[in-house]
Amino acid sequence: MRTMQSTIVMAMLAACACALPEIGCVSVPDDGKQPALGTHVDDWRDEVVYQVLTDRFANGDVNNDYKVRPGYLARFQGGDWQGLIDHLDYIKELGVTTLWISPVVKNVETDADVDSYHGYWAQDLTQTNPHFGDLAQLRRLTAAAHDKQLKVVLDIVTNHMGQVFYYDMNLNGHPDINIGGSGPLQGAGSKSDITRITEYDPDWDPRGVQAFTSLGNAGRAPIIFIQDPSINRIPMAGILGTARGYHGFGRILNYDDEKQRMLGDFPGGLKDVATEIPEVRAEMIDKYTRWAELTDLDGFRIDTVKHVEYEFWTEFATKVRARLAAQGKNKFLMFGEAFDGNDKLLGSYTQPGMLDSVFYFTQHFQVFRDVFQSAHDENAQKGTDQIQKLWADRAVNYNTQPQAGGTGIAPSKSLVNFMDNHDVSRFLFEALGDKDALRNALTLLMTEEGIPCVYYGTEQDFAGGNDPSNREVLWNTGFPTTGDTFRHISKLARLRVKYAGLRRGDTNVVYSTAHVKAEEDAGIVAYERAGGDAGDSYALVVINSNARHMSTTADGAKAMKLTKPGVTLVDVLDPEAKTYAVPASGELRVIVLAQRAMILVPQDQLKP
């Protein structure tokens, strides 16, 4: 019996011992606590931005999969910051260096059966969106990224908030969607117009959204904040929770009407914030700068800048820079999104005191769409002279001096270049799946002047159409790193690292053409990247955007003329590393296969 008792006692001790390893104080990891702010960027032109929609990149924690509906792209899919943390090596292997993450603030959950997975329907500028994680997890993301020499840029919106109120146009105290009229009345010689009025998102009215009764107009429609905590559709604290914080003019109908553009609600019922009110302005500056302070961010991508008055940007940019610089964070990049084909308009947001850069939308239209995406259609494709002309306007339309206290790089030299993003259909969708065109365009994107930006999924040949089809779930691919496009981007990124000219050199277009058909030089564009801040580094990029035949850098007697005569150039994009001797005249005729490119560097600058 003593043996049995000893056994029991020993088993009890074993049970106790079993528990001991688990005894330890739970804690928030150090990288989830307040970080010390620092400057993590030397020159933003060295960076390659990788845009991710957090909800679509990787699902690292199923516990925040609230109301996820897999496969339905207008609904939450489950991606989160933990997923990003888990796949930083994938991002690193791709060769990109800066993460642009979608908005982090708490949103109105859903509206009209579409979810706020994208993050642009802000409801509370002080809280993290629980679909993606908590503040500590966001900090861990930025810390982990910085550990891997990756930077993090946050997407913010100052123009509007989510659909937090409705206009009580019929003064009945609840939101209505009315459809009235019956159309033409047969035989009556008259018609009853069919009208659709939604109090959530009424049309623009220059008087402000009007209330009405059967007797006619009844003055400004009251703004009624919705109290629906089930979908987080409630007013936030402070002035943005009051009618005074909003313009109340209704939905923009004409983007060319400046008043509408500035004061109108963004389509989808996103309520336009009265950013001209000092109190609102201060709120925006404070709340968003706080995120940079809390998480050691490296920059802001700013949504819908063309819908906010210029004075706001001057004050916003200046105060954000000053506040962060006082805490040791410099070179904080702020680039704006103005979805517009007007190059002057884009450039206007880079004028002194304003933003460091903008999304180069004109290039998206005039280069990536007109030249590369259209390569399959010679009747639609535009010549590469369009590229040269657009680029020439950089120094005209954009500020050529760095912003005071900004990144240290002139906006004209640090435009954010992109082929596609979450607001437009993917490149491959418009290019009808032409992957040669995609990789060719990527070569230009990664070697031109400015900051390249790659939209997540490009590396996996995603080909979705317009929103939300262009917001595919990346983790369904399994994150392969062996695809041709992935390896192409990765190779271009490595070349950028090796050759400073590709990053910091000035641009000298040495060949372009209007030809797009059977001509000898159809589709050719060539540009040197040298000088500027690149030291003696030199690179020549030659691209044939033509999809039907090989082309040469000459058209009869006219030939590409380089500023680097007498050197031997090596095509570092070519696995065989072919060499080309530049004659003393500087004229170089090279043949480039259809939808292929060369990146040529002097043989004496060649790096292993």
Partner: protein
């Protein structure tokens, strides 16, 4: 409340039952005497055939924790002699008598035999309950303030009652039985809410039988070990399943005849299951009816959690007296099969992987056997699904949607000391809970603990006053909103409880009719646990002034 070493309390019903048994025994003895006094061949024959009765050995005393058997009567039931029949005018109507042979007139009297019934059966009623009315001194009702899972029961325990109806049977010295039905009443009660609807739960519905030393049971049952009264908590084992079990003493030794066993080892096994009405475990979906129109429901998901437990209890009474030690080794295995459910949002089938877990725990208790004085230490460690209360479904998971990686570790102490006009109850625990989520920060990763002490002074035989002081804290692996600090929520409580105890002195004497006042002091992290719309987000001090009662008697769950 079940406490080791607690002397058996005898309720009034027990006393009445004893008296009835005694009366019955006396009548049987009288019958036997009558048989002896009437000499007859039949009677002699019957007596011979009966012979001296060899009674089976009495069963060992019921172990404290084993599935209780029907209590043995205080004296062995005597063997009843045959009934005496002297009628000369009618056929015997006693069962067992031979068929009538036309007995008439002055034929000699004879004795027919009636097989005596040793069966004893009775119904018992027991109850546990607590009912309070309280004010927060701000015009509202008093409200619980705990932030830990097993905080002090005072203020937070809420109203609750159990009504137990029990059938106790004994067929002979070797075979006994019990059927238990316990209904639990959950608040609010009618006089408070004005609504006649009452939430009722069936907490026990099982049958139990004992053959010699072995007790078996099956049904729906709360199957528990020792509790920590001040925390309203069963820290080692607390099963609530539909299933069955078996238990028996497997070793016993006695130092001297007539004394309590010096060593006693009891083994208990149990297996049961739960299938909570939740899409995590159970789902029915409508499908097109195979005949006619409309739909019929089919079971889409059916994956009960199956739990097996093993408990080895060792009693050691060094002197053979009422005091001693109780040591328990306890383990659980949990299994949950894989399944598929239809996502209610998307109508898309989603898989739920199989899951499992285990728990190992131990308890060491010292008891004096006098006035409920004891001290106890409990430790347990659980992994996987066993880390979660079986009456709740996990809400956070590992990436594969299992609970792998989840763990729970607990250490608890408790005790009671009573002497003359004074007693003191105490309890404390620490608990380390980690969910399986891959996130480093989570509100489901936390450490917590509480310490509570309740000294009492008995004022005469029936009145007393208790003071209670406690501290509790939960440290979560997340940041306190609006700060850069970890969320460490703590509450300190102090209270005073004057009471009337009709059952007399003692920490565990019930019923107890009480007045109580408790103040809870809540720090900023505690307040941050509540939405800003909740007054608990703003108030640092809470009051609870109330009157209430607590009772227990004759309950199989709280013997």
């Amino acid at each position: 409340m079940l406490r080791p070493g607690t002397p058996v309390r005898r309720s009034s019903s027990f006393v009445i039952r004893r008296a009835l048994l005694d009366l019955r025994g006396a009548s049987l003895i009288l019958s036997a005497l009558a048989t002896v006094l009437v000499p007859s061949s039949a009677s002699a024959q019957t007596s011979k055939s009966s012979g001296p009765v060899q009674l089976p050995a009495p069963p060992p005393p019921a172990a404290v924790d084993i599935a209780p058997a029907a209590p043995a009567p205080s004296t062995p039931a005597p063997t009843a002699p045959d009934a005496l029949v002297t009628s000369d005018t009618s056929a015997p109507s006693v069962p067992g008598a031979p068929p009538s042979a036309g007995v008439r007139g002055n034929e000699p009297a004879r004795v027919v035999t009636e097989t005596p019934s040793a069966h004893e059966g009775r119904f018992e009623f027991g109850s546990y309950g607590r009912v309070y009315a309280a004010s927060d001194l701000r015009g509202g009702t008093g409200r619980g303030t705990n932030v830990v899972a097993f905080g002090p029961r005072i203020v937070d325990e809420g109203n609750y009652a159990e009504l137990e109806l029990r059938r106790e049977d004994k067929w002979n010295e070797r075979v006994k039985g019990r059927v238990v039905a316990t209904l639990a009443l959950f608040p609010p009660f009618f006089h408070f809410s004005g609504k006649p609807e009452q939430a009722i739960g069936v907490r026990n519905l099982y049958a139990q039988g004992t053959y010699d030393n072995v007790t078996m049971w099956a049904g729906s049952r709360m199957y528990r070990g020792d509790d920590v009264y001040l925390l309203n908590w069963w820290p080692l084992d607390n099963q609530n399943t539909v299933g069955g079990g078996v238990g028996a003493p497997i070793y016993k030794s006695t130092a001297a005849p007539g004394s309590s066993p010096q060593y006693e080892t009891i083994l208990q096994l149990h297996a049961g299951q739960q299938r909570l009405d939740n899409p995590y475990q159970f789902q029915k979906v409508p499908v097109v009816a195979p005949f006619g129109f409309g739909t019929v429901d089919v079971t889409k998901l059916d994956r009960p959690r199956t739990i097996e437990t093993l408990k080895l209890t060792q009693f050691i009474r060094p002197s053979g007296g009422p005091g001693g030690f109780k040591a328990i080794l306890y383990g659980e295995l949990h299994q949950l099969s894989a399944g598929t459910y239809s996502d209610p949002l998307t109508k898309v089938d989603r898989g739920l992987p199989e899951d499992s877990g285990w728990m190992l725990g131990s308890q060491l208790t010292y008891f004096t056997g006098k006035r409920d004085t004891y001290a106890s230490l409990v430790m347990r460690h659980a992994r996987g699904i066993a880390s979660y209360d079986p009456l709740a479904v996990p809400i956070t998971f590992a990436l594969d949607r299992t609970t792998s990686g989840a763990s729970e570790t607990q250490i608890a102490i408790s005790g009671n000391y009573e002497q003359e006009e004074f007693s003191i109850l105490w309890a404390a625990y620490v608990r380390f809970f980690r969910d399986g989520s891959p996130a480093a920060t989570s509100t489901a990763k936390y450490d917590e603990g509480a310490a509570v002490v309740r000294p009492s002074v008995f004022l005469g035989e029936y009145f007393g006053i208790s003071l209670e002081g406690s501290y509790q804290q939960r440290r979560l692996a997340t940041l306190q909103p609006g700060t850069n600090d970890q969320l460490n929520a703590s509450v300190t409580k102090v209270g005073v409880i004057p009471y009337f105890s009709p059952a007399g002195r003692g920490s565990y004497k019930r019923p107890q009719i009480r007045l109580l006042y408790v103040a809870s002091f809540r720090d900023s992290a505690t307040r941050a646990l509540y939405p800003v719309e909740d007054v608990f987000n703003q108030r640092s001090t809470e009051h609870f002034l109330g009157i209430g009662a607590e009772w227990w008697f004759n309950s199989s769950s709280y013997p």
